[in-house]
């Protein structure tokens, strides 16, 4: 690519942005701690998110121990149960999934897949991670303040979250709100980078319609997050004022512990509106990167182009737009005008259309594909199953009349864990197994990976399927213990013990995964360049793992979309994005693929 003439066949437009100046730190601290390299920041995000995610995993086991074997463990009392539930939810949704998908994979993949040397604003990117770390530390600190962390539920509904007697009212809830505010500020810094890098720093030839779907997913999710997180910030700030300064934004006139509380006329519903205005897009902030990544990993391991690329892009955009007008379906039980309920039920069901489109396209991508049952592929297929299962129960819950009796039962717990916990986590696993060879230069152990997959898939079904039945049986969620009731049969207790044992097994399987990651880092089989024969730019770098600056002296030029797998007439079953049409080796005449 030394000389590029200006004739029609080999013309390459000039770079839209000039080559960026990169910081080239020499010291260890400059390279790996105060790093401005998006790849290092991505790993920092990944490690921090995984660490805090392990805390949330332990909390979930504590919840399950209490539910499966009530009155057995002295360390669980009603307060610590509620605290475990609240912190588990908040950590998993915000501090693990959001941070890992956008901060982790976003940082690693956006510059590499777009063909850029780094993010557009590297310094801001570094600040973003340190704000995130600070937010995590504040969150962790809340475990150690008197009264412990918040026990007001991950939704932090007032008046509960502001009333005396709620676990964590002495400081845990304040730290939770402060931590969220820090997280949002840090995220905004990172989000600016993700959006502007995708818009501005793509290499020559990388048109929007040649972007890998991973980037589309991360990009749309960032747009959603940038517009939705402010709602949570407003809510958190106003709640802090109610809590600390005695304003009455959310707090109604009420009698608390036999005394008239000093609040007057506030609206708890206002908080719910603000919270869910963030909360519902948040589901898609987690889901859209998963949708994108799964599309790329599926196509690579099925050796087939993604079915309906443009449809997939439009579906991502449509889901993103619709996700802003469905929030009140979380509030059916709070009471609302029936016409509003009807409106929100309708929009909720409409959002299933682009989502179903994506599912069909994934399945059609597999159709007639040359499916390689590698570990990433297994997790992708696991994702499709889990997502469809969780999504279908969402169609039930989207209807007001069905939601009202089910909303406070385990049916909802089963539903949202399937659709927005297990499904995105499956994609995270797929992505880690897929990109680990790029990040470290070594393969993860295949056998351990397969054990990890099967235990996780079957185990999560053993956990969450029974919860749907418990929900139909009317078992309420959020309860510390059920005691003697007339309507909960004894079999529910047995089922709860079964679920708890399954949960412990699944948790242990995750330790196996962590072990695999740590050990393969030094002892794994050498991956070499492009072990999956993928087409996207991140695999076409000079070095594995890619060095600082990502690409060699010249940025790659893109000639094709990222899904040129099994192209008829080509010798190899994949053509990387940076291979010009004239350089594609034709298949030899006796090759059966040639026709």
């Amino acid at each position: 690519m030394a000389s590029l003439g200006h004739d029609a066949t080999s013309y390459a437009p000039p770079l839209e942005m000039e080559e960026m100046e990169l910081a080239h730190p020499k010291t260890f601290i400059g390279k790996y701690i105060w790093s401005q390299d998006a790849k290092v920041i991505a790993i920092q995000y990944g490690i921090t998110a995984t660490a805090i995610g392990m805390v949330a995993l332990v909390l979930s086991i504590m919840i399950r121990l209490q539910l499966g074997f009530p009155e057995t463990f002295s360390f669980m009392d009603p307060s610590s149960y509620l605290q475990s539930v609240s912190m588990h939810g908040m950590i998993m949704v915000v501090y693990l999934l959001t941070a890992l998908f956008l901060g982790g994979f976003g940082n690693y993949l956006i510059p590499l897949m777009c063909g850029a040397r780094d993010m557009v604003f590297p310094y801001l990117n570094m600040l973003s991670f340190w704000m995130y770390l600070l937010a995590v530390l504040v969150l962790v600190a809340s475990f150690f303040v008197p009264g412990g962390p918040t026990g007001a539920g991950w939704t932090l509904y007032p008046p509960q979250a502001i009333s005396p007697g709620t676990p964590g009212i002495d400081g845990g809830i304040i730290l939770m709100l402060v931590s969220l505010a820090l997280f949002i500020i840090g995220f905004t810094m990172g989000g600016l980078n993700y959006i502007v890098t995708v818009l501005q720093a793509r290499t020559r030839g990388m048109t929007l319609m040649r972007l890998p779907l991973s980037i589309w997913g991360i990009f749309m999710a960032t747009v959603l997050a940038m517009l939705a997180f402010p709602a949570l910030l407003v809510a958190a700030l106003m709640m802090l004022m109610d809590l600390l300064l005695g304003t009455s934004f959310f707090m109604p006139t009420m009698v608390s512990l036999g005394e008239q509380a000093g609040y007057d006329g506030g609206s708890p519903l206002l908080f719910q509106h603000l919270f869910w205005f963030f909360g519902h897009p948040e589901v898609y902030i987690v889901a859209l990167p998963a949708f994108g990544i799964v599309s790329d990993v599926l196509a690579t391991h099925a050796r087939r182009n993604i079915f309906g690329y443009r449809m997939m892009v439009w579906a991502l955009v449509a889901i993103g737009g619709l996700s802003f007008i469905v929030w009140a379906h979380h509030m059916y039980v709070s009471g609302m005008n029936p016409y509003f309920g009807f409106l929100f039920a309708t929009t909720t069901l409409i959002i299933a259309v682009p989502t179903a489109l994506k599912v069909y396209n994934w399945v059609l991508t597999l159709w007639h594909g040359n499916i390689q049952l590698t570990v990433p592929m297994l997790f992708c297929i696991g994702f499709i199953f889990t997502f469809v299962n969780g999504g279908l129960s969402g169609l039930f819950l989207g209807n007001v009349t069905v939601d009202l009796p089910l909303s406070d039962t385990y049916f909802v717990v089963g539903h949202f864990h399937m659709v927005m916990a297990v499904a995105p986590i499956m994609v995270i696993f797929a992505a880690i197994y897929h990109w680990y060879p790029l990040i470290t230069g070594r393969m993860l152990d295949n056998t351990l990976g397969k054990i990890h997959f099967w235990v996780t898939l079957l185990g999560t079904y053993a956990i969450y399927y029974p919860m749907h039945y418990m929900g139909f049986a009317g078992v309420p969620r959020r309860y510390y213990a059920y005691g003697e009731t007339g309507f909960i049969s004894d079999s529910v207790a047995t089922l709860n013990s079964f679920i708890s044992i399954a949960a412990i097994v699944v948790a242990l399987a995750q330790l196996l995964f962590i072990y695999n990651i740590v050990v393969s880092r030094t002892r794994g089989e050498k991956a070499g360049r492009n072990p999956w024969n993928a087409t996207t730019l991140e695999w076409q770098t000079e070095h594995v793992p890619p060095h600082h600056g990502n690409f060699g002296p010249e940025l790659p030029i893109v000639y094709r979309w990222p899904y040129d797998y099994a192209v008829p007439g080509a010798k190899h079953d994949f053509i990387p994005q940076n291979v010009p049409p004239e350089d594609v080796e034709p298949a030899s005449a006796d090759d059966p693929k040639a026709d």
């Binding site: 013309y11 839209e16 557009v120 502007v196 940038m226 910030l233 009455s248 006329g265 899904y563």
Partner: protein, 222 residues
């Protein structure tokens, strides 16, 4: 929520229109050498810094639209809303903020015309007016407090303090960027080299002025 939703609808419609334009009649599966003309080329005026600022301003708009939505919803929810009459000082403060915005515009023009003296003057004046505005807002708080507009008790007063504080915090954040720009001027960077920083400051100030006018109208009318 209506205002927020209208804002989001406009934003998403713009995005959607843009993406449809990128993808209609495009055949992504066709491999070809990139041509000199690409449909998704951003205009040359859209530099990374400007686009970044634009995205950030969209986030800030979303933040304030949601605050205003909360304001409106709280106004209708209880029967304890007692309209407060905003202190007359706010009119003076508004004029001061307009001056600040104008001064930074002057600085921006000076940077474009490579005039270090006027640039320095514009920057200093812009910062001074802004600090004056913030002091004025604090004085307005005192005035309101003296008139019985306490933080608690009346949600209208609570919101008054909240929205003015949020706006003021955004100005303070702007002052950090302003301070960094000023430090570069003092170090003797040429106007051409700090053009981008000055430009971003000026645009951000204009935005915060518009935002303040919107908030002021809201405070006056309710």
């Amino acid at each position: 929520m209506t205002g927020t939703l209208v804002f989001l609808a406009v934003l998403l419609a713009l995005c959607l229109g843009w993406i449809v334009r990128q993808s209609i009649n495009v055949r992504p599966w066709v491999a070809e050498t990139p041509g000199p003309w690409a449909p998704d080329r951003l205009p040359p005026a859209a530099t990374a810094a400007r686009v970044g600022l634009g995205v950030f301003l969209a986030v800030v708009t979303s933040f304030f639209m949601l605050s205003i939505s909360a304001y409106m919803m709280r106004m209708e929810s209880g029967n304890d809303w007692l309209p407060v009459s905003p202190p007359g000082l706010l009119w003076v403060n508004t004029v001061v903020l307009v001056m600040g915005s104008l001064a930074l515009q002057l600085a921006w023009n000076a940077a474009r015309h490579d005039d270090p003296k006027r640039l320095r003057f514009g920057l200093l004046a812009g910062g001074a007016f802004t600090i004056l505005f913030i002091i004025g807002q604090l004085a307005a708080w005192r005035q309101l407090y003296g008139d019985g507009g306490f933080l608690t008790g009346n949600p209208a007063a609570s919101f008054f303090y909240l929205v003015t504080a949020l706006h003021g915090l955004h100005l303070l954040g702007g002052l950090v960027a302003w301070g960094r720009t000023l430090a570069r001027v003092r170090r003797g960077d040429t106007p051409a080299r700090i053009l981008v920083s000055v430009e971003l400051c000026a645009l951000y100030w204009h935005f915060l002025l518009l935002l303040w006018l919107g908030l002021f109208v809201l405070l006056l009318s309710t």
